[in-house]
């Protein structure tokens, strides 16, 4: 298996505040790594640094064997990286269709790709001309996932996609991610606070606390959820 994403002793933050300290982790192709942790512990900062929205003070990030620190964010999409941020993740005033098109490269034909993602989320095809901002919260999250999938990414960075969602949709998303991983060999870095969702999808997990990795292991081990829960509570 090849390495999709390697983060090596990464230290970054905002201004003077170091949020991440010496973080090292790795996601292989076809594997899901769940990064869990309480709020303020650095999970979103990690993704923003990987994407290049935040500078790194120390360490290195490698995506498909190429170092990415210093590269502007828009280069990553070209490397088949799909980013689903936690907030402001869709264009409210563009239609569903336009949102999806923007997830797709310029040269790819839209119709067959739409059909493919609509298989997971049928409402996308039915409501392609609807303004994305008028979709419900759960539908918007599904649109975010569809947009990430439409470009056939090799690496997905997913930030708390289940926040605020009802259980039935969470189950659906878990299903989609598992299928994506096994069918296409996509590497997925999953940021989450929902332990059961994370463990139902992930192969391995890491726990981030105060910007450091304090626990890591196999997600399928019996004691994993208890071990993680300990870190996520007081």
């Amino acid at each position: 298996m090849s390495e999709a994403l390697t983060v090596d002793t990464l230290t970054s933050g905002y201004g003077e505040a170091m949020v991440l300290r010496d973080v090292t982790l790795r996601v292989m192709a076809g594997e899901v790594l769940a990064v869990l942790g309480k709020n303020g512990m650095g999970k979103t900062t990690l993704l923003k640094t990987i994407m290049g929205f935040l500078p790194a003070y120390r360490g290195q990030i490698t995506i498909f064997s190429k170092p990415t620190i210093g590269e502007p964010p828009h280069h990553l999409a070209g490397r088949a990286v799909a980013y689903s941020p936690q907030e402001q993740a869709i264009f409210q005033e563009l239609t569903v269709e336009e949102n999806l098109k923007l997830g797709l490269g310029r040269r790819t034909r839209f119709a067959p790709e739409l059909k493919r993602v609509a298989a997971f989320f049928p409402f996308l095809a039915e409501r392609r001309r609807q303004l994305a901002g008028t979709l419900s919260g759960g539908e918007q999250k599904m649109l975010i996932m569809a947009r990430a999938l439409i470009a056939r990414p090799k690496l997905m960075l997913v930030d708390e996609i289940t926040e605020g969602l009802q259980p039935s949709i969470i189950l659906r998303l878990a299903d989609v991610l598992r299928r994506e991983k096994s069918a296409n060999g996509t590497a997925i870095l999953l940021i989450e606070q929902n332990i059961s969702f994370a463990l139902s999808v992930a192969d391995r997990y890491a726990v981030l606390s105060r910007g450091e990795v304090v626990d890591a292991g196999d997600a399928r081990q019996p004691g994993a959820d208890a071990s993680i829960a300990e870190h996520l509570s007081v």
Binding site: E16, A17, M18, V19, K38, N39, G40, E87, P122, F123, T134, L135, S136, G137, G138, E139, K141, E163, G164, L165, Q166, P167, S168, I169, R172, Q193, R210, G211, L232, S233, V234
Partner: protein
């Protein structure tokens, strides 16, 4: 939860800092006044005559800095206000001769007209959904119109050549120098005291997050309008003084004030005053020999300063003198005696009748009707897109709903803006933290208390008094050890806690909470749950909260309303709702039921 970047410096009380500052202010003012008195003896006549105007401009620059540097209101209208004050004197004296009643009329009339113009500009330029750029536009328009009016006034106004040779005060140039100097010192000193007071922090809060201020019950539009009017009055007085000194007036104060304030240092007060005086003085000396090149240079320097030194030259110079580390200053917390904040109980806390909200053809809420009373903890649950946040918006802002009636504590909210709804005893916490990034924790709490405890325009209080509920939240989440920390450096969870504390600090009778536990740990969640239950049980509050954590909802609610696709599908006790088939289907349900 304390952020790893929290300051570890010792914290000083505001009154300690105030005392030092006041002493400095007094000393500097005395020195400045002495300089003003001695000036004419040391400078040549030409310099003295220029400086009279420069001093007046400096005073105006101070007010522009208060408007812009502190409150974020970029006004280009000072040219008009100055002109109004000047022409008030010039015109009346030209028409009616120089006599005490005439002069008094001009002294009062000029500032009055300027205040009215500022009021009109404020009415046009400030408003809930209006961009901050807009007031700049309106004030610029005001200046343009003023110049046009003067130009087309023919002989009456002197048109472009200006009014001249009108009789005026019999005061020597030296006398005018001292008057102008004293005026500058007075305005600067008063301005300084004002911006360092608690009210001064409110100016910054308005600049940072006007919405949050309104939800703390502060009439921000009124505050901004009063500031603009205040600046207009002082500017008109400066114009009056200028016309009194110089018997020729023409519309020529352009938009340089903004440049001077920018170069001197926005938000520093002293910087703009110094910059205005210096640049105007130098311009007068140079404009004889190199008029356009000097303007060109100023323009270029202005651009360079904006790009490279946004804080202006003032702070760059001041930094050369700064020594030692900065210590943080914060007020102490003090508990407020437990007041009974419950409503009478006779009137329901929340009454909603046939409320609906449409966006064009999209119906987000349809025919919502329910009532909630004191002592109830109502959880509003439902799948995403059910309309929960929209409902909260309709309850807290009279302009949000499309139809129906809402009453808080028996007061219909009609089409009232949030600050008015909040005054009926309503508190709202937003889904994502809605706080003041540039203020400290203590300052934020004080702003939240401002409706109950007025902010002083002169002093900084040493204590922030918090009601028990707010105090509990602050202490349990560690915010009490971060009173001097700037909010920007707090973590997401700490900001959530701060916002909740701020809302509780307003002693509301009705609380609207949008996912208050999002991002909190398990222990914090149960703490918040305890606090909410206590508020309802011991203080008779009515709480309406949106939550996804069904465990949490089951533990603390007295009643659950289930919203689905914009309508209430169930409204009942915890048992009824949790045992309901319908609700189970909606939540855990089959995929088809979810296609909302």
């Amino acid at each position: 939860m304390p952020d790893s970047a929290a300051l570890a410096y010792p914290v000083r009380l505001p009154s300690q800092r105030s005392r030092i500052e006041r002493r400095l202010l007094l000393v500097s003012s005395i020195i400045a006044l002495a300089l003003a008195a001695a000036g004419p003896l040391l400078l040549d006549t030409y310099s003295v005559s220029i400086l009279i105007r420069s001093f007046l401009y400096g005073a105006i620059a101070v007010t522009v800095d208060i408007l812009w540097g502190f409150t974020g209101i970029l006004s280009f209208g000072q040219a008009a206000f100055f002109g109004i004050g000047a022409y008030a004197l010039g015109l009346t004296v030209t028409q009616y001769d120089f006599a005490p009643p005439v002069v008094t009329a001009a002294l009062i009339g000029g500032p009055l007209v300027a205040a009215a113009a500022a009021g009109l500009a404020a009415w046009l330029g400030f408003g809930p959904k209006v961009s901050p750029l807009y007031i700049s536009v309106i004030t610029l328009v005001l200046s343009v119109i003023f110049v046009q009016v003067i130009y087309s006034g023919g002989d009456f106004t002197g048109s472009s050549s200006g009014l001249s040779n009108f009789d005026t005060f019999d005061i020597s140039i030296d006398g005018w120098f001292r008057i102008a100097g004293a005026f500058l010192v007075a305005v600067t000193a008063a301005g300084w005291i004002f911006v360092r007071s608690d009210f001064g922090r409110l100016l910054v809060a308005i600049r940072e997050n006007e919405q949050r201020c309104r939800y703390c019950g502060i009439g921000t539009v009124r505050v901004k309008a009063l500031l603009l009017i205040g600046s207009a009055v002082i500017t008109a007085l400066a114009g009056f003084a200028y016309a009194g000194y110089n018997d020729v007036i023409a519309p020529d104060l352009g938009t340089q004030l903004v440049i001077w304030v920018a170069l001197g240092g926005r938000g520093t007060l002293i910087g703009p005053a110094v910059a205005a005086v210096l640049i105007d003085f130098i311009s007068a000396w140079l404009s004889g020999s190199l008029p356009f090149i000097w303007q060109l240079i100023i323009g270029l320097v202005f651009i360079v300063v904006i790009v490279l030194l946004p804080q202006g030259l003032g702070p760059a110079v001041a930094d050369l003198f700064r020594r030692g580390r900065t210590r943080s200053v914060a007020a102490r917390l003090a508990p407020l005696p437990d007041a009974d904040v419950a409503g009478s109980g006779a009137v329901p806390a929340i009454q909603v009748a046939s409320v609906s909200r449409n966006y064009g053809s999209l119906h987000v809420l349809q025919d919502i009707t329910f009532t909630a009373g004191a002592g109830e903890l109502v959880s509003l649950v439902g799948p995403n897109g059910a309309g929960k946040t929209t409902l909260i918006r309709c309850l807290s802002d009279g302009q949000e709903r499309s139809a129906g009636r809402v009453a808080i504590e028996g007061n219909p909210i009609g089409r009232l803006p949030p600050e008015a709804c909040v005054r009926f005893g309503l508190g709202r916490k937003f889904q994502t933290p809605n706080v003041f990034d540039a203020l400290t924790v203590a300052e934020s709490l004080r702003i939240a208390r401002s409706r109950r405890e007025r902010l002083s325009v002169i002093c900084t209080a040493d204590e922030v008094r918090l009601p028990a509920a707010a105090m509990r939240v602050v202490q349990a989440t560690g915010l009490s050890s971060q009173l001097g920390t700037t909010v920007k450096h707090l973590s997401h969870g700490a900001k959530q806690a701060l916002e909740l504390a701020m809302v509780l600090a307003m002693e509301p009778r009705v609380l609207l909470l949008d996912e208050p536990t999002a991002g909190l740990t398990k222990s914090e969640r149960s703490l918040i749950g305890e606090v909410l239950v206590q508020l309802v049980r011991d203080h008779g509050l009515c709480i309406l909260l949106i939550e996804h954590d069904l465990e949490f909802v089951r533990e603390i609610s007295s009643r659950i309303i289930v919203l689905h696709q914009g309508s209430i599908v169930m409204d009942g006790t915890v048992e009824e709702v949790t045992n309901s088939e319908l609700v189970r289907t909606i939540y855990t349900g089959e995929p088809h039921a979810v296609a909302a």
